[in-house]
């Protein structure tokens, strides 16, 4: 069973009173739970529903609507490669393909050591510095094969 940490719990309680309507706290709560658990599953939703006194169905529909909530486990480094127009034109998809090959892993899957997962992502607003990728919260821009190899090698 998933349970929020003590700090996580007090964060969520605070968010419940931060906005005009307590349902607005669902997205921040899901973010917090994801930080602690890595992804959102039924356990997480059940726990948040109890803590927040909001129906599970409501939390479920929000969690599944928004792309940033992972509905399956991700690697310690969740690498999201932009494959939208400007990045695709600049070779973003080719970089993603090479990452999958080099790490012997499929799209949206986690490497055996748990270190990486690779996904396609829609435009992240770095079109002038294409191609780009996001690793967890951080943006990496103006990529090429050499730079990608270096970045991934440098990640723990």
């Amino acid at each position: 069973m998933f349970q929020l940490s003590k700090e996580g719990l007090s964060f969520v309680k605070k968010e419940l009173t931060r906005y005009e309507d307590k349902r607005s706290a669902v997205i921040p709560a899901l973010y917090r739970a994801q930080e602690e658990h890595g992804w959102i599953n039924d356990d997480v939703i059940e726990h948040l529903a109890q803590v927040m006194e909001i129906p599970e169905a409501h939390i479920f529909e929000v969690a599944t609507f928004y792309t940033m909530f992972n509905k399956q486990p991700v690697g310690k480094n969740h690498v999201q490669v932009c494959c939208n127009i400007s990045c695709a034109m600049a070779g973003g998809r080719e970089l993603l393909g090479s990452m999958l090959e080099k790490n012997h892993v499929g799209l949206d899957e986690v490497t055996k050591d748990g270190k990486f997962s690779f996904s396609k992502v829609e435009c992240l607003g770095s079109c002038g510095t294409a191609p780009m990728m996001q690793v967890n919260d951080d943006y990496y821009e103006n990529l090429d094969q050499k730079k990608v190899d270096e970045i991934l090698r440098g990640l723990k």
Binding site: R18, Y19, E20, D21, K22, R23, S24, A25, V26, I27, P28, L30, Y31, E61, V62, F65, Y66, T67, M68, F69, C83, N84, I85, S86, A88, M89, R93, E94, L96, G97, S98, M99, L100, E101, L107, K120, E122, C123, L124, G125, S126, C127, G128, T129, A130, Q134, D137, D138, Y139
Partner: protein, 434 residues
């Protein structure tokens, strides 16, 4: 040819801090504005002809005047959900000048008499989120936010809210749904948000750049604002220029500039390449051919007259090394992914467009598919709650009509006219176009 008004101080690192912003003239206009009557500010904004910088180009002063004339609480909502593919100007503004946005918001909030505002920022913008959040705290500490701002008796609270990765939340009623803690599904209009918005209270939704402009209009007056731009598209605007160029980036220019001058400003094309097409206003805007691009002027009405749109100011330049069928497949897969699913023509239509274009690009296209794309797209227009359906249909129609030869070639030869039998290593066809 750059006209740096909003971006004048963006190269200074100190501008991001409250002190640095003040050192460069920041938080001076708020003092003047809060002493003015709200209707005076609204009149200035109306006279300036400012049009929304987020995509639709709706006159800001007019939007504000739709608010009910009573004392009902109302909200100001800053649209920082920048998600239109090709657009990255609001990110720059928030990263380099968060206080410019806050000052513009407090002045605008006073104009519309709102005591509470939210900045709705897309979830992926973690860094700008932190920058703006810190700036809000600084502004509270300095007395530019909170109770009785600068002793004028005006109270205003501001908060920032993160989205979680949904393009549709950039649509103003989708954004309101999301801020309410719901799925980001747009709502039927009317009632418009100015009458019934966030929690059914009157709500004004404005883009980051729009709100930042308000400070300058109050500072210099509408006439100075109108010195740049055209009669119907006054002012300067930030353009996010990307694609096959030598110096892509954000450029602030006077509206009405010629597209070819803009391409030159961004370093021009790469050596040996020829211009093929330009998407002038983000992925939703109908594409222009190279020939049309020669004549294009970058303002709301000139582009509308050419059957396309200025949109969010995202200019994507495409040279002769690119395959138009491939690019359309990227765009269609995007809209299919981002359709919120509540209206049938959009949910089904984006799926069909994606499927048919994907079929062509993976070598399984039929001759009739090209017309099918057009028929499906035309049936998606004007039939849904929000504009996403039209936004998917417009590029589809323009690509297949203006670059029909590339689609016909792909269907006939089962390979790209430009790239030949090109495959992306490491990704299956299904994954490339997923």
């Amino acid at each position: 040819m750059e006209v740096k008004i909003l971006t004048e101080h963006y190269d200074k690192d100190e501008y991001v801090t409250l002190k640095g912003y003040q050192k460069n003239g920041g938080y001076e206009i708020i003092k003047k504005a809060l002493k003015m009557k709200p209707e005076e500010i609204i009149q200035l904004v109306k006279d300036s002809g400012l049009r929304g910088r987020g995509g639709a180009g709706f006159p800001t002063g007019m939007k504000w005047s739709f608010l009910p004339k009573n004392n009902e609480p109302r909200y100001l909502l800053c649209n920082a959900d920048e998600g239109e593919p090709g657009t990255y100007k609001d990110r720059l503004m928030m990263e380099r000048a968060p206080h410019q946005l806050i000052e513009g918001m407090v002045i605008s909030a006073h104009a519309v008499q709102s005591k509470k505002s939210y900045i709705y920022i897309r979830g992926e913008y973690t860094y700008p989120y932190k920058v703006v959040e810190k700036a809000i705290r600084e502004a509270y500490d300095a007395g530019f936010l909170g109770k009785n701002i600068l002793g004028t008796g005006f109270d205003h609270d501001m908060d920032i809210y993160r989205g979680a990765g949904a393009y549709i939340c950039g649509e103003e009623t989708g954004m309101i749904s999301s801020l309410e803690g719901l799925k980001g599904q747009p709502k039927l209009k009317p009632p418009f948000p100015a009458v019934q918005g966030y929690l059914r209270k009157p709500t004004i939704v404005n883009n980051v750049e729009t709100l930042a402009c308000v400070t300058y209009i109050v500072k210099d007056g509408p006439q100075v604002f109108r010195k740049n731009g055209t009669e119907k598209s006054p002012g300067t605007k930030l353009f996010s220029i990307s694609g096959d160029l030598q110096k892509p980036g954000n450029y602030e220019v006077a509206l009405g500039i010629s597209l070819m001058d803009m391409i030159q400003m961004a370093g021009g094309l790469k050596p040996g390449r020829k211009l093929k097409a330009v998407i002038p206003g983000g992925s939703s805007a109908p594409v222009l051919t190279a020939e049309e691009a020669q004549k294009a002027k970058m303002d709301f009405d000139s582009l509308a007259a050419m059957g396309t749109m200025l949109g969010s100011g995202a200019v994507i330049v495409i040279d002769d090394s690119q395959c138009m069928v491939d690019i359309l497949s990227v765009i269609m897969s995007f809209y299919h992914h981002e359709s919120c699913g509540q209206c049938t023509p959009c949910r089904e239509g984006t799926g069909w467009l994606d499927k048919v274009v994907r079929g062509i690009v993976s070598g399984q296209g039929r001759v009739q598919d090209i017309d099918l794309i057009e028929t499906v797209a035309k049936n998606m227009m004007g039939r849904t709650i929000c504009a996403l359906s039209d936004a998917a249909a417009m590029p589809a129609i323009s690509f297949v009509t203006k670059f029909r030869d590339e689609f016909e070639f792909f269907v006939r030869e089962k390979k790209s006219k430009v790239k030949g039998d090109y495959k992306i290593k490491g990704l299956s066809d299904a994954q490339v176009h997923h």
